[in-house]
């Protein structure tokens, strides 16, 4: 973890842009809601077969970037490419067979059962004359088994706990059978046990099925532990990207989140673990200026 790894991560990201043939990428996109510009001239490659996690402070544009990658938001400039085609100009169902999205806001219809909800993930594979094939039935059964909700098949979704419900939504996205799956803060509103549970499931889908996963996560430690490729955003710009072990340093965390911290090795996995500096160290730092602050952090580190 050299101090300059932040910069090198960014450079390699830019250099790779034209040479790779990744399935999903954004080229010089400007993202805006009405007149409010979130990001300008942003270029991102999602490495194939990676578990890419996008992190950054609130309002840094990470969910906006995910929305653009999943064609929920049309870039005002630049383009998002899926398999070499501009994603907006592709037929909607064709995109939906390649790229799945689990958004933050999803509504389970009143009185719908788990099996019915998961079955709706088959929509892009269906038509008026092909409403429910044997294949649909098999995939739905498999998706429920894989996410551990098979026993809940006939239960009503609104009777389930938050963790179970999130598993059901993931099962629905799985039933879509897309090689690429995008998840917008899949662990929000879950307690820690279910957060880990959902992330383990994502890692499993990535490792065992070779799917490319892209997730927006709030928790930097979760991101560092589970991601194979990390993208750190601030103010609509990529500050660093690369493997967590290569890019997560105390300097990067301070640059991206404005938080003083130490980065140690996770005793379980060896991935970077971010430990925020104690309150005294942080408030003292503000009062006493840069050099003394650095000393204090060093002192905290030593103790």
């Amino acid at each position: 973890m050299s101090p300059d790894s932040t910069g090198s991560g960014r450079d390699s990201g830019l250099n790779n842009r034209r040479s790779t043939v990744n399935r999903l990428s954004a080229e010089n996109v400007t993202l805006a809601y009405d007149q409010r510009v979130i990001a300008e001239q942003l270029s991102v490659e999602i490495p194939d077969n990676s578990f890419t996690v996008i992190v950054g402070p609130n309002a840094c544009g990470k969910s906006t970037l995910l929305r653009a990658l999943s064609r929920m938001l049309r870039p005002s400039e630049g383009r998002v490419l899926l398999d070499g085609e501009v994603i907006q100009s592709m037929p909607a169902k064709k995109v939906a067979r390649t790229l799945g999205l689990l958004p933050q806001s999803s509504i389970a219809p009143d009185g719908i059962t788990v099996a019915d909800l998961v079955g709706r993930g088959r929509y892009p594979h269906q038509g008026i004359l092909r409403q429910w094939s044997a294949e649909d039935e098999r995939v739905v059964r498999e998706s429920m088994a894989r996410t551990g909700v098979a026993e809940l098949a006939d239960r009503y979704v609104d009777e389930l706990s938050g963790g179970q419900r999130q598993r059901v939504w993931i099962a629905m996205a799985l039933a879509q059978q897309t090689p690429l799956l995008l998840l917008d803060e899949p662990t929000t509103y879950l307690d820690i046990q279910h957060q880990i549970d959902v992330l383990d499931l994502c890692a499993e889908l990535h490792e065992e099925q070779g799917r490319t996963l892209v997730a927006v996560l709030h928790d930097l430690n979760h991101a560092a532990r589970y991601a194979t490729h990390l993208i750190a955003l601030r103010g609509g710009r990529i500050i660093a990207e690369g493997a967590p072990n290569d890019i997560v340093t105390a300097e990067l965390v301070e640059e991206v989140f404005g938080l003083r911290c130490q980065v140690i090795d996770d005793p379980e996995t060896g991935t970077p673990l971010v430990v925020p500096a104690a309150r005294k160290a942080r408030t003292g730092a503000k009062a006493a200026g840069e050099t003394r602050a650095a000393e204090k952090v060093a002192a905290t580190e030593a103790s």
Binding site: Y33, G100, R120, I128, W132, D154
Partner: protein, 345 residues
């Protein structure tokens, strides 16, 4: 609990049937047709149901033929179509707004059509045909206004309902103003129109309504699968490959046309569009917009209500709109109360 059955052919075609919903549709159709036969037999010159059926198949006496085919059949058919249009239009609006209150009655479409009719009656003293056109135009203009005002990077449920309520308030005020400035005979004519009634409806109202339904109902049903997905939110359905804004626009235009045409034909019959989808949904116990069951429920509800109004108060004493409010409303209340006791909303 799951009543879905898949029917598959060796060629790879498959159709999914919700057995319970299908049963509800068949039963409602039977009920609507049976009520129609009884309704045709009801009036100052009663005809037994068996004779009504015989006459409908062309084997009645000359007198029965005249009464059935010229006087009562068109009225009943208009009633069936008006009820079906309102039921389907209501189901569409409630599904698009994801809110049971997002019905055309609440959004002000009925009031908009009324305003169009009042403008023709009060300001132009127009003919009955002109009033129909006026109501149709009024409904369409109101529907367009609601859609445009509610548009903000797409049309969303609560916005649609709130904008609709606002538009409804404005149009109601306009309607009140139009009545106060009308002279006595025009005002009387306006009030009769506004109560919503089937009396005196004939073939001239039936054929345009049938043509419109023949075009719109298949169009709506073809887009129904997309609408089903949209229940889960715009993002989820768009991610599944539904072209959300296009489906919503097509279905809203269809729903506005259905409701405006029904109102133009029978006046603003209250409450059918609000209750029919809710009643249908509780019978099918199925999520989803329940389009076909709502359509059948609307038709059955309106014809039964018309029969009740004639039974209780004699022909043309009480407009059908009053009865649909009472019958539908009480039934819905009863369902809500019993469901609350059972622990499910």
């Amino acid at each position: 609990m799951r009543t879905n059955r898949a029917v598959r052919t060796p060629g790879g075609l498959s159709v999914r049937l919700d057995v319970r919903a299908l049963t509800v549709v068949v039963l409602l159709l039977v009920a609507a047709l049976a009520a129609s036969v009884v309704l045709i037999g009801t009036g100052d010159f009663p005809i037994p149901a068996a004779d009504v059926v015989k006459t409908l198949f062309g084997n009645g006496t000359a007198g029965q033929e005249f009464i059935v085919n010229e006087l009562r059949l068109p009225r009943v058919l208009v009633g069936l179509l008006v009820g079906a249009s309102l039921g389907l239009g209501g189901a569409l609006f409630q599904a698009i707004s994801r809110n049971p209150l997002g019905s055309p009655d609440v959004l002000g479409l009925g009031q908009g059509a009324t305003a169009g009719a009042l403008v023709v009656i009060v300001l132009m003293s127009g003919s009955a045909a002109a009033v129909t056109v006026g109501a149709l135009v009024g409904g369409l203009v109101t529907g367009t206004a609601i859609y445009v005002l509610a548009w903000k990077r797409g049309v969303h449920g609560y916005r649609l309902v709130l904008v609709g309520i606002g538009v409804s308030a404005v149009v109601t005020a306009v309607n009140g103003y139009l009545i106060t400035m009308a002279d006595l005979s025009d005002a009387a004519r306006a009030v009769v129109w506004m109560t919503g009634s089937l009396s005196g409806r004939d073939w001239a109202q039936f054929w345009p309504l049938l043509a419109l339904c023949a075009v719109l109902v298949p169009l709506v049903l073809a887009n129904g699968r997309g609408l089903r997905m949209m229940e889960m939110g715009d993002d989820v359905s768009a991610a599944l490959g539904v072209r959300v804004e296009r489906v919503r626009l097509v279905l809203m235009v269809a729903a506005v046309l259905l409701v405006a045409a029904a109102t133009a034909a029978a006046g603003p019959v209250s409450f059918v569009a609000l209750t029919a989808p809710q009643l249908a949904r509780r019978l099918t116990r199925s999520p989803g917009p329940n389009l076909l069951p709502s359509l059948c429920m609307g038709a059955a509800l309106l014809v039964v209500a018309d029969w009740v109004s004639q039974q209780a108060f004699g022909a043309d004493q009480l407009p059908v709109g009053v009865v649909t409010g009472v019958v539908g409303g009480v039934y819905l209340l009863w369902l809500l109360v019993t469901e609350r006791r059972a622990g499910r909303i």
